[in-house]
């Protein structure tokens, strides 16, 4: 029996985010909340292996009660159990505090029902930090493989997993003992269209609520929420709108002149030179 755990976060759909021009604040209302896309792909892969090997998939998420919606979506996609760790005291958590709460929660689930493989998303599209996954691995002293794009093999008897991870340069094929923690890129699996019975089950599903008072985990108050977060927001702002660049009208000055003017601008920043030099080098390498 294969037991996979997937950490799932609810995020605002950043592609729909609007900023209030006056206040410069996020306009959150109207912005749909979605399952962090990377987590969805990670979940899809976990479910794929569950169906192949037999077993179950447990979801863990830290956040307000509204995250229950996202856990239901996870059930729709084939997860069997969903744990939502939720407490006012967790508010204002940075990645260090988040990784603490998730690590302690996963530890408890592991006691109840030993976990073979832990799936995280590569990053959350709201924070884009990509820190929580490795953080949890460190706290649980588990091997971590980031940017996983393919699981080649899960060997439950031999207690090992073989994973492909993608870097700028190449794909590394890594073997590591179980249990292990992966942070997954979108390529790891496509998100399937859930069967109707799974959807119906998810609509009826009530996530387990774990809190500081009710337990079952006992958290160190000094390590959760704002208290447990070394980083502090110093200030927030909207990025200066890139002031529209100069325009050259080919109809007036002719294509050649317009192109020259544009390329000169690119050169001025050094970018064009960099690009061409780099390409030159690459071409040299290519030549035998």
């Amino acid at each position: 029996m294969f037991h996979a755990l997937v950490a799932v976060k609810q995020v605002p759909d950043t592609t729909n985010i609007r900023i209030d021009p006056e206040t410069g604040n996020l306009v959150r209302e109207g912005v749909p909340a979605i399952m962090n896309p990377y987590d969805a792909h990670a979940l899809a892969e976990a479910v794929r292996w569950k169906r192949a090997l037999g077993g179950k998939v447990t979801i863990v998420s830290m956040g307000p009660a509204s995250f229950g919606q996202t856990i239901r979506e996870a059930i729709e996609l084939g997860a069997d159990r969903g744990v939502l760790v939720s407490d006012r005291k967790f508010a204002g958590a940075d990645t260090l505090a988040t990784s603490y709460v998730l690590a302690e929660t996963i530890r408890k689930i592991h006691e109840q029902d030993p976990i073979d493989l832990i799936f995280f998303g590569k990053q959350a599209i709201d924070g884009d930090t990509a820190q929580v996954g490795p953080g949890v691995a460190v706290r649980l002293d588990l091997p971590v493989i980031t940017y996983a794009v393919k699981i080649r093999e899960i060997d439950l008897e031999g207690r090992r997993v073989v994973v492909e991870r993608k870097t700028e340069r190449w794909i590394e094929v890594i073997e590591t003992p179980l249990p292990a923690l992966l942070t997954c890129d979108k390529e790891i699996a496509d998100i399937p269209f859930a069967p109707l019975p799974d959807l119906i089950r998810s609509l009826r599903y009530e996530p387990e609520m774990w809190t500081v008072e009710a337990g079952p985990v006992t958290f160190d108050p000094a390590q959760v929420g704002g208290k447990g977060s070394p980083t502090i927001v110093y200030k927030m702002g909207t990025p200066p709108l890139p002031e529209a660049g100069e325009k050259f009208n080919a109809r007036e000055i002719g294509a050649e002149a317009a192109v020259k003017a544009a390329l000169d601008k690119a050169s001025a920043t050094g970018i064009l030179a960099a690009v061409l030099a780099q390409n030159e080098a690459a071409e040299k390498e290519a030549r035998p």
Binding site: P32, A194, P195, L196, P197
Partner: protein, 442 residues
Amino acid sequence: MNHNDEKASFDVVVVGAGLAGSAAALIMARAGLNVALVERGQKPGGKNYFGGAIYTHAIAEVLPDFMDRYPPFERPVTEAGFWFLGEDGMVRATVQGGKLKNSPADAYTTLRASFDLWWAEQAQKEGAFIIPKTTVVDFLRDERGQVVGVMTDRPQGEIYAPVVIVCEGVNNLLTQKLGLIDHDLEPAHMALAFKQLISLPTETINARFGLPNDQHGLAVSVLGDVSLGLPGMGFVYTNKTTVSVGLGVMLDTLAEYRLKPYEVLQRYLKHPAIAPLVQGGQLLEYGGHLIPEGGWRDMPKLYTDGAMVAGDAATMVNALHWEGTNMAIIAGKLAAETAIEAHAKKDFSARVLARYEERLKEGFILRDMKQYRNFSKFLETHPQFMGTYPAFLNDALGNFFSAYGKPKKQLFSDIFSALTSRRGLFKAAGDFISMGRAVMGW
């Protein structure tokens, strides 16, 4: 290991969580039936579009205490009527006061995304089970061909129920699959309506539309030079912090003149009488939606063994008044009552479901639609009737100005029922305007 063995079955399946669908689901759930309300959108209302204003008399028939349930209304309609656009100016013919002073008001402007969601939630509160993100693609039938459920687009997508109420809206694919109608609605009987939702500060809206505060709202139909001089009928609705501006053109006109809807709308929005109203606003959304105009002539058979159809799917729209939500809601309610009766009788055959049509006949819907039916016949036989438009206009305006306190809907139909032509209201409106131009020198 995967709980896919369980088979989904309910007492009734409602297709489409729009106005008609949620109304039907609510009534049946309240009566204790186990209702599945299937909606293809992420959530109810997400993709739905209308002008628009919604009529409370219909809501009250389903939810007498609707006002205590915080419906997401925008503004009560306290001023309604018509604007006639000339090249650069316009003649306003609007009503205030009288029934428009009622509270709760007869009509409220609203946005479908929030209203439909609320409407479906009321059904949910009564126990209806909403199944979102799922599209019904076909029906399940028994050996006798009686409908016994629906097939959705999902794997293992069957949902079983002895009776299905189809509230799929204007794209009547399922109605056709039921064999209740054998064709798409004809372009000549279909209006494509498209609108922009433009955000403006509440104060600006109040000032530009002459509204004392956001408890006053405007709902007008716009006739005349709205679309490159081509026939078409526009509308303007004021919401709290947005204005809905749009217009509808018959599909065949669009095709005939190769019009791009967006361009027509742009022209309309640039009209000297319209532009100042929306100037400086931020475009929030742009969308289009069909309105079935055919009325009685296009009306499908409304029921078959194990299934009924309600709302736009059954062309229950009165384009003259941009009315459809109320008919949809009432029709949904009547179909629901019929389904409840069928469950009591344990008989879901066409014979029992026929009561649905009778119920409609007793109500205002079919009567209205018949009236228009007769009328378009009259037109076909009296082409010269067109010549009498100007007279109508005089009466019309005259009527309007002497009409304070006269029920709005009734008033409109008095005056304008006479204007539906074989090719739909919009053409008529066009003739009407060009005539008006000639005679009155607009």
